[in-house]
Symmetry: C2
């Protein structure tokens, strides 16, 4: 829930003069997206999303993010297309922040996704992985396995404030994950944050993927593992194997997992749950109450971590060869 | 900044089936409107605003608010038109809240209005007053002069937390306003909250008025006085008489003020500043930090109160007969 930076009509009109999308007709701040300020923008040429990048996004990464969206859209992945400025660039400045305009995507994100949606997401994720294969830029994942311990060290002293015993519990999980993390798996462009609010549907058909601001280069199967966490747990934190099977089958209908990838799914899923536990825990402990940044409960992911601890094979998530 | 209630696609699709505006294509929560949850809604028939009325709006008032918008729109005032349901009603229920769909209005609200915009607002306000004359419903103003003292009594003990000496200062202002409040002036439908964020422009032309959720029956000139407060003070709280003159002239180009109304402008402006001082002060002292309801600084209106204290004639706001 956001809009950290407001903009005046004068600033915005001057900014729009750098584009070939006509004059300003309206803009309304939208209450979605947890990192940036987003506006639904109407111009004489139609409807767009205007994004102002806030401090949590590194400006140096923007050419990667926007270039990737452009690359994927041109390869037929349904995702927002960054609008080119008159000078050919994709990034401008507005109200002192880097800013970009992207096309508006119709569709609804599923507050309660069903197995049919999970299958579609799996398919779209694999298509994204294939389409990303020839994208020329790369970006190191700044929230991958090697980054978890430094993050944990900033939070461990206070972890028991969230739940007594948590410090010991997470420490053990983290060590186990670090020890069994695969050294090598097929890598490429991953979305890294493909939660339900980043996937739009029209009816049962997936209409687009959004929010590429965590995209990076990492194991492809790690992206699938993140989707298992984000899409296949119920509100009571039980794992729904029907949804897991649909997600993985959808993925494999486009890109079958290699044997080593399938074998790694349990540790990747556990690691992905650790990544979200740690960032949420860190935010939970450090962001003051009442700040505009949305704080998500880390316990949602601790519950997932506990589930993954008892899993030893991808088949337990619904995988079949 | 809002969206207090989120809605699922299933609930929304069922709600939309009560309307003749086709299937759902997208909805995005918007970060504007301080009292309700608002969404930009796309259906097969086009673009709309979906509003869920939160607890601060009395459900019994909705037929007045929505009926008024329908009445005004039909009389040519540019404001959102509530969309009729298949059963002919304007109000439904969604996610446990009363909800309505209104048409989407193009335009931009002026973060920094100029005199030309003030003139347009004055004109539109007078047109609204004339168009409201034959609206059959009425609604008592629940924030009029008689309501200020009860509100003040809930805040006065803690007023000095905002600024030392404030309790004595506001008490004196309130008594002075109560003593000199006019007994009788031309009355009718007033908007009562026509702040810049409730008025849209396309270029210099006013394209519409929104947010009728404070509308009520009161002195017409009181509405103009509220606009003097909302539109004609600079960010440093100085009064801009050029803007005041433009606002009043715009108003009088449609509906000239009676002599008694012009004579009452100073006390009405002072009273209107008191109304916003008191509601902001009350919210400031009672809403916890970090709540989603936006808290506005009461000192912005205390500064206005101090200005009005020294005014004795409408000409000092830019009025000419």
């Amino acid at each position: 829930m956001a809009v950290y930076t407001d903009i005046t009509e004068t600033e915005l009109s001057a900014f729009l003069a750098e584009y070939e999308i006509g004059g300003l007709r309206s803009y309304r701040g939208i209450a979605e997206g947890s990192e940036n300020s987003n506006f639904v923008l109407h111009t004489e040429a139609g409807e767009f999303i205007l994004t102002l990048y806030e401090r949590r996004v590194d400006e140096a990464d923007l050419p990667f993010f926007l270039g990737l969206m452009q690359h994927l859209a041109k390869k037929g992945v349904s995702c927002p297309l960054p609008v080119e400025r008159r000078d050919g660039g994709l990034i401008g400045r507005l109200a002192g922040r880097p800013a970009a305009i992207i096309t508006f995507l119709e569709g609804i994100w599923m507050r309660r996704p069903a197995a049919v949606h999970c299958r579609e997401v799996g398919k779209a994720l694999a298509e994204l992985h294939l389409a990303g294969a020839d994208f020329p830029l790369s970006r190191q994942n700044s929230l991958s396995v090697k980054d978890w311990r430094p993050l944990w060290e900033q939070a461990c002293d206070r972890a028991d404030e969230v739940e007594p015993g948590l410090a010991t519990e997470i420490e053990a999980d983290l060590s186990a994950i670090e020890e069994s993390w695969p050294a090598r798996l097929p890598s490429g462009i991953v979305h890294a944050d493909l939660f339900p609010d980043n996937v739009f549907f029209l009816g049962e058909n997936l209409s687009g993927l959004i929010d590429f601001y965590f995209a990076c280069t990492d194991f492809l199967a790690y992206d699938l593992a993140t989707c298992l966490n984000a899409w296949c747990f119920e509100k009571d934190f039980s794992f729904n194997i029907t949804k897991g099977a649909a997600l993985i089958a959808g993925y494999q209908s486009v890109r079958p997992l290699a044997e080593a990838e399938a074998a790694a799914v349990p540790v990747l899923a556990r690691g992905s749950a650790m990544r979200f536990t740690l960032t949420r825990l860190y935010d939970w402990l450090t962001i003051p109450d009442g700040a505009l940044v949305q704080k998500r409960d880390p316990r949602d992911y601790i519950r997932r971590l506990r589930f993954h601890r008892g899993i030893s094979a991808a088949s337990q998530y619904g995988w079949t060869p």
